[in-house]
Amino acid sequence: MSKGQLKWPFKVEWDKTQTVETDVLVLGGGAAGCFAAISAAQKGAKTVLVEKGATIASGAAGSGCDHWESAASNPCSRINPEELTDAMILAFGGYNNGISHYIECREGYDRLLDIEKMGAKVRDTEDEFKGADFRDEKTKLLFAYDYYNRYTIRVWGSTFKPALARHCRRVGVRIFDRVMATSLLTQDGHKGRRIAGATGINARTGKFMVFMAKAVILCTSRPTRLWLFSPELPGISEFRPFQCSGDGHAMAWRAGAEFTMMEKSIQAQWSGLRSFPPYSTGNNHNTWYACNMVDAEGRQLPWRDRDGRIIEKFSDRFRPSPTQKLFLKGGGEPDSFVYDFAGPDTAPGDELILKGYKLPFYADLTSLPEMERKVIWGMMVGEEGKTKIPVFQAYTDAGFNPATDLIQSYGDGWKSGNFLPQERQLFGLPGGILNDWNLMTNIQGLFAAGDVLFASNCFGHAAATGHYAGRHAVAYARQIQNFTINENQLADERHRIYSLFGRKGSLDWRQLNTAVTKIMQNYCGAFKTEELLNTGLKRLRDLRQREAEQMTVRNPHELMRALEVINIMTNAELVMEACRARKASSQHLDFVRLDFPQTDPPDWRKFVTIKLAGDRIETGSLGLDYYGSLSDNYIKYNKDYKGVK
């Protein structure tokens, strides 16, 4: 042990293997994973949940969540699930996951009722907001954004994950916290064959874990740290939790799973040193909708409807325009202006400056009706995971008073920082694993839920798809009589993992992650060409073959980080290959090919799919409406689903 180093405080077990057999194996313990495990266990299946962190607080909404989207089946909604899903599909030009969002719109509210039964708080039981415009007096539900249509519900989300974790245990789910899943096991060890389980490592002890399972549900969120990484502050490299490094994508890719839309990325909105924490500065979007904004001289920034007409009445910020059925707001809204579903907003910053408004701009909670001020600052900021402690409590302790104080906007309004075009993220509704109506992938027995699915987002979506995948995984598992684990596959995986320890090299995982982001920014930034992408892939291979071989680790925690970076390299390759496969630009996918400048030509209005077949990359295509009729198929595949009363 060198001077200054500490003895590893946990028991070291990297020479040990633990084998666990189960019917259904859930990988990832966020909202999707917990719901998948709960629904599988409730159907009577032996269920194991594997989580890299701590199920009680893991996942993007682990520490809280302020609103529940797309609850179209709640009793106050004026929009039905079909209308809302259609709007979400059209708002993204068809590049959306019709199946998963229909499940969200149809079953999301059921899952909210489930959480409430588990002990979480979903309605204003203390009558704090009695009489507010956004409250339904009968159900005591609070709504956000579109107060007329009432399909987004404000919630006390910091109570959610503890309730879910408790309930997992209550229904008999066996939880393995601090275990990172490292690979998917397939029948006979062959890529693309039926699922047989997964391997993992304990991130504290280093123990090798083997999970034998009839069905596996992947609930591992989406890749991060591809373009953005802060070596000083790796933990806040991206908006999503540091833990969510896209392990599921990398594992599934190596196992032969099919992906789509992986060519889509958008300019970054939050990250590391450049940005303030999300929702921590003055703004009027999402959590802060529809806060008053003022300029440096105290002039109110005008609100406009989708046609540019000034909205005079405060209450009209929460209603569709007279010629509109509904507007979309929140985490799943499109990043570009889509007229049909555009809601009330202030003009863009540059336009306001030209009109003489003076910087800086501020959010002005002081001039809001009291209920609105209280619901934005006290409840939304107070319940959103990233803001409950770091913003609501910290600012309050520092003397901030929403009744008297303005708070400055930075960057381009709500984004809390300005980014360069090549600094990109898989954000909003990015690509991911392709699913069928069972939420099964092309690998028999491998299901997917939550943010690992293509074009997915938000708690309600994660909860609804998790529960759905759990049910369908049980139905699948019941048909499986016997399955075997391939010993060679285990031996290869053991070698891949443990050879990282005790190498002669001296590169730590941060160096490698930084190198990947440099490659992605340079060769897969805002502008793509075949030449750039090919060079990027070559450099990535070079990085893998030379520098990555010198990466070394000193303890099980660093082993987990190193394995994450190997996954990040895999995901970088997947993204660049997907970018190569689409030979046309696309506005909806925020995708610019300088060598194929035509935007969304008819021949390319389709999903491009990609997977590994052996060592070869196979691409294909699917119609944007591959899922067929939403309501008919839903009914066909869910005959035994009764809903929640």
Partner: protein, 98 residues
């Protein structure tokens, strides 16, 4: 495998870590250790003592550890200097940074 038994960690590093633990108030209950999804902390080998902060830079900065602490004042959020946000008291025009 023998070589692998010598797992070590770098010295505790609290630079860039936005959480401060008051060692006089902390009872070493380790709830913060168990709730952290990033596994920033480790249980102190000395029973009843505050946790070790082994990977402070990996903190996702959402404060679950502060949420679960049962002892008032034992753990506190401290915003990093680069994250101080400008506020203005509307009535007096006074500027301050939270």
């Amino acid at each position: 495998m023998a070589k692998k038994q010598n797992a070590v960690a770098a010295p505790q590093d609290e630079s860039f870590f936005p959480v401060v633990i008051d060692s006089k108030k902390c009872t070493g209950c380790n709830r913060c250790v168990e709730v952290c999804q990033v596994d920033v902390f480790a249980t102190n080998p000395k029973k009843g003592r505050p946790p070790l902060i082994l990977f402070g830079q990996e903190c996702w900065q959402e404060g679950s550890c502060v949420q679960v602490c049962p002892r008032k004042g034992a753990i506190r959020w401290q915003r990093l200097p680069m994250q101080r946000v400008h506020c203005r008291r509307k009535t007096t025009g006074e500027d301050f940074f939270v």
